[in-house]
Amino acid sequence: MSFVLTEDQEMLRETATAFARDELSIAHLRAMRDAGANGKDSATRQKLAELGFFGVIIPDEPGAETFGMAGLGQILEAQGRTVAATPLLQTALIAASTLQLGGSAAQQAAWLPKIAAGEKTFALALDESAHFSPYNVSTEAERNGQGYTINGLKKYVPDAHHADMLIVVARTFGEAGDRHGLSLFLVPADAKGVSIAELKTVDSHGAAHVTFDGVNVPESALIGPADEGADILDPVLDRAAIGLAAEMLGSSQAAFDMTLEYLNTRKQFGQLIGSFQSLQHRAAKMFVDLEMTRSCVMAALSAVDEGKADIAELASLAKARAGELVHLVSNECVQMHGGIGMTDAAEPGFYMKRARVQEALYGSASWHRDRYARLGGY
């Protein structure tokens, strides 16, 4: 377990933090929102590509070193600090991991370089109900002569409204709820029969409901063996939860820093409000939780890089604790800012809104607590 970044990872962290601060500030998100962009931002995508952020876990050539999950985690944390809407989680983490863990040599050769270059972005089409439940898949992929025909509805698919490719989790066997019988498919977002209904979401990042109506894909679209998709999906979802936890840690840290600064500048009753003990203790408790959550996130990121056996436990630990933390801190951020915190003109609300989305994706704190307990045998 490594809790200290390498020099390269440290530099990446600095670059990412500066980039988020300078180019992806909350002011940027606000401007995008007011322009009705709904998270679609091709200029940012271009800049992320130039910085190489899409290829952080993809080696230049087979076997070469990468910045690893710990490196990618720094970028996601940085974007969490400013609540930035980027395709990195879906593309640089989820799609890259899916292909690395389950893709054929041909799929890897075809797609990984395009991901690394930022040429193609992806979205994972998984959930079919309002709550994360990865095996609860009814969308069917039925074998036909040349490949598969997909029918079904996917709800709240992040980035689907501007992705080039979809990774679709469909059922080739069994019934909703079964782990066995899931298969993963690569489907172009503009394939015939795919309809994407854009959603205006509370965090202004947007998402989409995606309908598959007789969508035909060739055999070569299947990632990994048919029916055994969960073997790929499970570790991918662990990585997704860890990456998102890193983002949530960044949001929590930024909302905390903002709160602290306000406590140190705002005066009432002739005093800095930060000199009131009731607020000091709440701030100190948040700081303790921040430090503890940072340890969990770092442990989970490095566990992926080191191929540890307890990635699932650490993923649930990181996501659950980050979920609790981000609500605590974003709520306190609004509360301690008082009336100002309730206004749209101020920044705290952005964190609170995004926190709800962050928590709902890839398992809420409750979902992960439940799994943590199951993994622990109670």
Partner: protein, 404 residues
């Protein structure tokens, strides 16, 4: 910094392994039983004779205090070697040979602030567990405002004369010597405090145990009436004791969060999840039947894991030179919460099985859990209250200002 390359560490590992193999008695490789804990001292008790053998051998080697200088009887090991030793001890499940406030708190402070003669005189006996120390800090009426102490120490020319009362003195009735905060100037607060050492057998010293809600009495009220103390037992400069006191508190907080709270390691106590399974029952999937309790137990277990990862992270960062300030207060606050939550959950999971006090009809572990639940209430009070630690974090770490 002493050498620490991988090859030499490996060599040290093999040597340490061999030595432990030959010197750690088999009965010292079993879980520690509470009544076999060794506190050392002039009247040391060894319920298991092997524990004396184990202490003598480790003490001789200086490995009760692996990183202290050899000159004063310590192990003289580098940080890396000490970690290896710790790993090797854990590997064979070796018991700690000695529990000691001297090792955890007083020794480190004396190494920093004491003069050469004092270190030479006191440190080796701490390492070997020959002298048992207690801490004379708290006073009735002072509470968390530790510096508000009244115990007077007057300069009588060839000696100091001490009069006053301490409270919450852990094991004062069993200790040989005391490290004590005394007032040497009544006109100022923090700058009028000195740090002094004396023998608990000195005429005028009396310790009376205080019974706690848990039925135990690890603490004492301690009275000093015209206690004469030789002048060379003052540590640091006259009226300069507060700096030593603060440093020692950091050691105390660190040792509390590293080792849990006074013997609550839990021999014979299962985890809340085990008790919940036993007494609440399980559903068809083998989970704790009460979903709410299962959730709260999980939340607690996640906190425990997050805490231990944080301790690891702090250690690694410190090693890499990225020390975080006032870690001791952060961890002390978290450790107190963690330990109290654990005992609340234990008692809740036990149901009426957790309501026994003594005698038959209740299992030994459950009765112990009940006592420790009560004892754990002190965790957020002793060694700096949780509120005091939050103040330290708010002001020293977060830079929040004092009320004007």
């Amino acid at each position: 910094m002493a050498y620490d390359n991988a090859e030499q560490l490996e060599e040290f590992r093999l040597a340490a392994r061999k030595w432990l193999e030959e010197n750690c008695p088999p009965s010292m490789r079993t879980p520690m039983l509470d009544d076999e804990i060794v506190w050392g001292g002039r009247n040391a008790t060894f319920k298991n004779p092997d524990s004396k053998v184990w202490l003598d051998r480790m003490g001789e080697k200086g490995w009760t205090a692996p990183e202290w200088p050899k000159e004063y009887g310590g192990g003289g090991l580098s940080r890396g070697e000490a970690r290896v030793l710790e790993q090797e001890m854990r590997r064979i499940k070796a018991r700690p040979p000695l529990f000691s406030f001297g090792l955890w708190m007083f020794g480190p402070a004396l190494l920093e602030f004491g003069n050469y003669e004092q270190k030479l005189r006191f440190i080796p006996d701490i390492v070997k567990g020959k002298i048992r120390w207690c801490q004379g800090y708290s006073e009735p009426g002072a509470g968390s405002d530790l510096a508000d102490l009244q115990t007077r120490c007057e300069d009588k020319g060839d000696h100091y004369l001490i009069n006053g009362q301490k409270v919450w003195t852990s094991y004062a009735d069993k200790a040989d010597w005391i490290f004590c905060l005394v007032r040497t100037d009544t006109s100022v607060k923090h700058e009028g405090i000195s740090f002094i050492l004396f023998d608990m057998k000195s005429p005028g010293v009396e310790a009376r145990p205080i019974q706690l809600i848990s039925g135990e009495s690890p603490f004492c009220e301690t009275f000093f009436t015209d206690v004469k103390v030789p002048k060379d037992q003052l540590v640091g400069r006259l009226n300069g004791g507060w700096d030593i006191a603060k440093r020692l508190l950091q050691f105390e907080r660190s040792s509390i969060s590293a080792g849990g709270f006074g013997g609550t390691g839990g021999s014979g106590i299962l985890g809340p999840e085990d008790y919940a399974k036993q007494h609440v029952g399980t559903d068809e999937a083998g989970r704790i039947a009460d979903g709410d309790m299962r959730g709260r137990i999980t939340d607690h277990k996640m906190y425990v894991k997050a805490f231990s990862l944080t301790v690891q992270r702090q250690a690694e960062q410190a090693k890499a030179g990225q020390a975080v300030g006032h870690t001791a207060s952060i961890l002390k606050y978290a450790a107190a919460k963690m330990n109290q939550d654990r005992h609340e959950l234990l008692i809740e999971s036990l149901g009426t099985e957790g309501l026994g006090w003594e005698g038959e009809g209740f299992d030994r572990g459950a009765k112990k859990a009940t006592r420790q639940w009560l004892r754990s209430k002190g965790n957020s009070i002793e060694g700096g209250t949780s509120e005091i630690n939050l103040n330290v974090v708010a002001k020293r770490v977060l830079g929040l200002k004092e009320h004007q």
